[in-house]
Amino acid sequence: MRILLDNFTKKFGTLTVIDQMDLEIHSGEMIALLGGSGCGKSTTLFSICGIHKINGGRILFGDKDVTNITSQERNVGVVFQSFALYPHMTVEQNIGFPLKLRKESASEVKRKVDEIAEMVHIEALIHRRPGELSGGQQQRVALARALVRRPDVLLLDEPLANLDATLRLEMRSEIRRIQQETGITAVLVTHDQVEAMSMCDRIAIMDAGKIVQISEPREMYNNPVSDFVAGFLGSPPIAFLQGRITDGIFVEPSTGTKMPVNADIAKRANGGEVRVGIRPEFFQPGAGAAIKGRVSFIESQGRETLYNVTLPDGNILRSIQGSQSSARIGDEVEWGVDSSQMLVFGRDGMRL
């Protein structure tokens, strides 16, 4: 079911947390709300499910205006960051709770609970209490409870934040599998860009209560609208250099390295101060505009190695290379920047 946030505003007292947000989530799509801590992701989520009453604008499910409908009647499933399982109920009772509240018959509840438990692979745990489950198992129970009454919308508030790295990886694909199996419209709140990129059809990146960009993950990575978005996506992160573009060439101030930019950008930025972003995969030995620096940090990530190269003025470029590379800390290197892949931002941080 399509969700539409139309001019939606949320305030806590005098503090405006979300200011006139517009967001359309397509039916059957899984979208990520990605942003730093305190930017209003949970607030948006809680407004969609009706826990928070909104202060302005409308929320539509399909064509139905649900702005003034209570959360009890919105038919949304929510997975909370802390899972919020009822500690005094068994797994079975937890999952069956939404059905029980709807006064469905015991046999019906049992059938549906069994079905959903099978789907999230917790059939064997059904008689335990939440306190007797591991984090990942609790996660699955929370998911099952959110899904059991076939909600129109599934909302996930940092569902993986409390899990360890391996479990997180497993649950990522697990949640995505279930979302695709059920075809449910889902919103995933996260501050982990990897999670957002790997799980979702689209990402809405948020900053201070506003959506900065909505795109498919790859598109957003390749074409960020601002340096904020560029900085948020990518691991290891993009590196920025400050400088000027004159006659179609960006000159790195501390080394004087010349990096040509494409004509379109050159025209828009001519003579102006700019910020260029260079992703680690485009700063490699023996290609593009060679720039000198000293290796200041090396991090082996197994298959690949990350190098920080400090320029004379202290700016840092990052490079990610296959393990064949042999540079060591303190080495003077001269690697090349693929300036055609450089992202150029104006002084306001917006992409040129």
Binding site: F46, I51, Q81, L85, L101, R149
Partner: protein, 466 residues
């Protein structure tokens, strides 16, 4: 720890030659410092107070409960006294009615003391001498018999009045005379011509002893008296009605309703409900009394509607109970409210959010989320308040004094009246202690039960935080 002690010990030894007399002090200090019993030393004063103010009273209650101490017996030893009531007891309890009559009766005995007293009073020596010679040692059951005997004397006085005056000196009775020992009493009886077989002796000693004795009569009496049953029912009614309606029920209503309010009004309401608790009890009850007096608030308000003023509190047992339960409940609810409110606060907000999106209405939220989480606090308040309601009677004493007509007299109050304070002024310490003992036993039994219950519950309680 062991190391540092060793160091101190070593330094103590080193410094000993320098500081004369310093070493032994240091070792004593170390001994205490090293001691595993240091805690016990520190606890000793508290332990002493516990013994003095808790254990001792309970033990004394236990002892007193098995005596017949009262104002009449005193709390030290007693004397042997034949009087109306002891003779009634002799008749009723031991079925020695005849003996009682006999002891009750005045006898006249011609004896040394009588002769001497008569001589002192100025009776003629010749008369007394002849009386001595003819009748010495004889007893007469009636005054007329003595007088007739005197009249038979050669040297008898001329006037009837003089005869009466002499006979008066030979009047003998144990009646209303306190004897320090049972033997004295028996000897006196014997002297007056009343000789007793061993069974009768035991009975007489039993009924005439005015001091206290050990007995289980208190408990027999407790069981047989219909008053006991009334008091018991009163107590059960009082404890459970107050508990269910207020200490738990109303406290829950307050805690849950303030939970759903905004912070400011919620805080205000909670403070309001704390007021009765922090008002001095005497003042607090006085305000209730003022409310109910025949010149008080209720009467004043109802007056214009043609309802005659009356004391609404003491008007009928129903009214009295209503007031008693309100007075106690208003105070009792605050504790439950605080405990329940903080327990509700401890429930993670996300549980409320989750239940909301799961479709729970407020009532369902209370039923399925809040109440299950309050199981432990409710159990705690129930047990704590049962005990405190069982033993507290101060509000009833201040408000109705158990009235009207004893209809609001609960066990603790009745104990107080029996043992420490009543209109008649005859205090039955023993019986009161026996009543109190019942409370102590019930209280201790319930405490043990609750402790067991709580321990068990805390061990098996599901984790409160996910």
């Amino acid at each position: 720890m062991g190391n540092s002690n060793a160091e101190i010990a070593a330094s103590g030894r080193v410094s000993a030659p320098d500081l004369r007399g310093g070493a032994p002090q240091l070792t004593r200090l170390q001994k205490i410092g090293n001691s595993r019993h240091l805690g016990l030393y520190l606890m000793a004063p508290a332990f002493l107070f516990v013994v003095l103010f808790f254990v001792a009273p309970v033990l004394l209650t236990g002892v007193f409960g098995f005596t017949n101490m009262s104002t009449a017996t005193g709390i030290s030893g007693g004397a042997y006294l034949a009087n109306q009531s002891s003779m009634r007891a002799l008749r009723d309890k031991h079925d020695f009615g005849e003996l009682a009559d006999q002891i009750n009766r005045v006898v006249f005995t011609i004896d040394e003391a009588g002769l001497e007293a008569a001589a002192q009073a100025g009776a003629s020596a010749a008369t007394l001498k002849e009386l001595n010679a003819k009748f010495f040692g004889q007893s007469f059951g009636k005054r007329r018999d003595v007088e007739r005997a005197i009249k038979t004397l050669d040297n008898r006085p001329s006037s009837t009045r003089a005869i009466k005056a002499i006979s008066k000196h030979f009047e003998r009775s144990v009646f209303n005379i306190r004897f320090d020992s049972a033997d004295d009493l028996l000897a006196a009886l014997n002297k007056f011509g009343i000789s007793l077989d061993p069974q009768q002796q035991a009975a007489v000693i039993d009924v005439t002893y005015t001091g206290w004795v050990f007995t289980t009569d208190n408990f027999k009496r407790m069981i047989s008296l219909p008053d006991t049953r009334t008091t018991l029912y009163n107590t059960l009614f009082y404890v459970f009605t107050t508990l269910i309606l207020f200490n738990v029920g109303f406290a829950l209503v307050l805690a849950i309703s303030t939970h759903y309010m905004d912070a400011a009004p919620a805080g205000f309401f909670r403070s309001v409900w704390l007021l009765p608790r922090i008002t001095p009890p005497v003042l607090y009850v006085l305000m209730w009394k003022w409310l109910a007096w025949d010149t008080g608030f209720i009467s004043a308000v109802l007056g214009p509607f043609g309802i005659a003023p009356k004391n609404w509190m003491l008007d009928s047992p129903t009214n009295a109970w209503t007031f008693i339960i309100l007075i106690n409940g208003m105070v009792g609810a605050s504790m439950g409210m605080l405990i329940f409110a903080s327990a509700i606060k401890a429930i993670p907000t996300s549980l409320f959010y989750a239940s909301e999106v799961d479709g729970a209405t407020r009532a369902q939220q209370i039923r399925h989320i809040i109440l299950p989480q309050l199981r432990f606090p409710i159990l705690f308040i129930t047990s704590y308040q049962t005990l405190s309601l069982l033993t507290s009677f101060e509000f009833i004493l201040l408000a109705t004094e158990g009235g009207p007509g004893g209809s609001t007299e609960v066990w603790a109050l009745s104990t107080y009246f029996k043992a420490l304070n009543n209109y008649a002024g005859s205090l039955e310490y023993g019986y009161g202690a026996a009543l109190a003992l019942v409370l102590v036993v019930v209280g201790v039994a319930m405490s043990i039960l609750y402790l067991k219950l709580f321990d068990f519950k805390t061990l098996t309680a599901p984790p409160k935080i996910e």
